[in-house]
Subunit: 225 residues, 2 copies
DNA sequence: ACAGCCATGTAAGTCGTTACATGATTGC
DNA sequence: GCAATCATGTAACGACTTACATGGCTGT
């Protein structure tokens, strides 16, 4: 349900076509809630059906049409209602943490590679969020400037401050992830040093594991506790 | 695609019924990749069709059946292959960060409430991950003990260390989220102090906003700055 | 003429959520 | 006899992904 609200939040600034909306979305909300245009166009139709936005068709070329969407009163109410709702925490789902849990099924070299990729990605992300936070703080994006024109001046500081707080938080989160990945690399090195001979992991110890596993077919040999 | 691999990683320990698997899953992988049993049973059928697991039906009561699943060689290969793959970073999708971005559409009291709920949740999570990391470090879960029996001893330290690293990372991530939420509360207080009179937000300034928005239909009336 | 961006979609398939449904065994 | 927990599903729906498809306008 987040996508519809993100779209409403952008349309609350000013009327836009689906394409313009998609672009503004990519530069703002998509940073925390990604969605491709193939999800946005149909969602706009649904919002229209629900009466949360209205669309005005404008000719474009000979038989093309543009649709300019505007938020309605009802849409504004839904947006405010959503902001005031406490929603239940989303179920955890982190593919990398999952994989990291089972790194013993691969080699140390692989584990290192995994953490390194994680590190690079999050260092990059961190830079990106820091820049974005600064740009927002300086109120320098087109969307932000329109927002400020449209919102009552008493709310300007809050409007900017919330967004900056989010992106600074993301930058720190990325910094944390990078630090965690660096410690992961150190861990792999320590583990590798303890087993200096080979570049170990299941590929090398694999047959060992498989034989172990096989033993389960003969409970008398693997019974425990 | 993560669910199937999580299931394989658990079945790599020992053969289990769908129900047992679901329980072990809830206590382990579900912490980083949640899935309900209604997703697990069908997924097991798919894994069976793909030849990654085999099922043995055992009678249970008069016409009930139990199906005990075991991982196959092919399943083990897929598991190892997955661990050695670098997968592209998942698109960001964080409902709370999204909402936090638009907190100016609600009252300060609401913004505070939002951050407080976030804080409570992540403080709770942090405790949970810390306990879990310790339990894993002490190799104290049933699944972990079976894992150690089944894996070659040279890999035991790595096996434990990776999992502990993940859960300590989660605990720190939760700590970071809690700190961020606390700074959010402080921010709301500062913003509220600057506007001491009312418990401000769109509900109060709302008509202002709507009129502002309306004015866009009459550009000559809303031009400013 | 062609590239590059503007602009708007559809379609097929997978993944995930929520709710419903059914019956067996175990211990009190 | 009843509750808890064991045990295994289906069904409907909505969210998301990936790929395909089409055509317009703008500048070189």
């Amino acid at each position: 349900m987040s996508l519809r609200h993100a779209l409403l939040a952008i349309l609350a600034v000013e009327p836009m076509t689906g394409y313009e909306l998609t672009k503004q979305f990519d530069r703002s909300a998509a940073n925390v809630w990604h969605a491709p245009h193939s999800q946005i166009y149909p969602e706009l139709r649904k919002l229209e059906t629900a009466g949360l936005v209205t669309a005005e068709s404008v000719a474009r070329g000979d038989h093309g049409i543009k649709r300019t969407y505007s938020i309605t009163e009802a849409g504004l109410d839904v947006l405010v209602g959503w902001v005031e709702e406490l929603d239940p925490p989303a179920p955890d789902r982190d593919a990398f943490q999952l994989k990291a849990t089972y790194l013993e099924y691969g080699s140390f070299a692989n584990a290192r590679r995994q953490f390194e990729a994680h590190l690079d990605y999050h260092e990059e992300l961190r830079r990106r969020w820091e820049v974005h936070a600064q740009v927002l703080e300086q109120r320098a994006t087109a969307l932000m400037q329109r927002r400020l024109e449209v919102m009552p001046p008493e709310l300007h500081d809050a409007l900017v401050a919330y967004k900056v707080h989010v992106y600074r938080g993301l930058a720190e989160r990325a910094r944390h992830e990078a630090r965690w990945a660096r410690r992961g690399i150190a861990l792999v090195e320590a583990l590798g040093a303890a087993l200096p001979a080979e570049d170990s992991g299941l590929r090398e110890h694999g047959e060992g594991l498989r034989e172990h596993a096989e033993l389960d077919d003969h409970p008398e040999l693997s019974e425990r506790s």
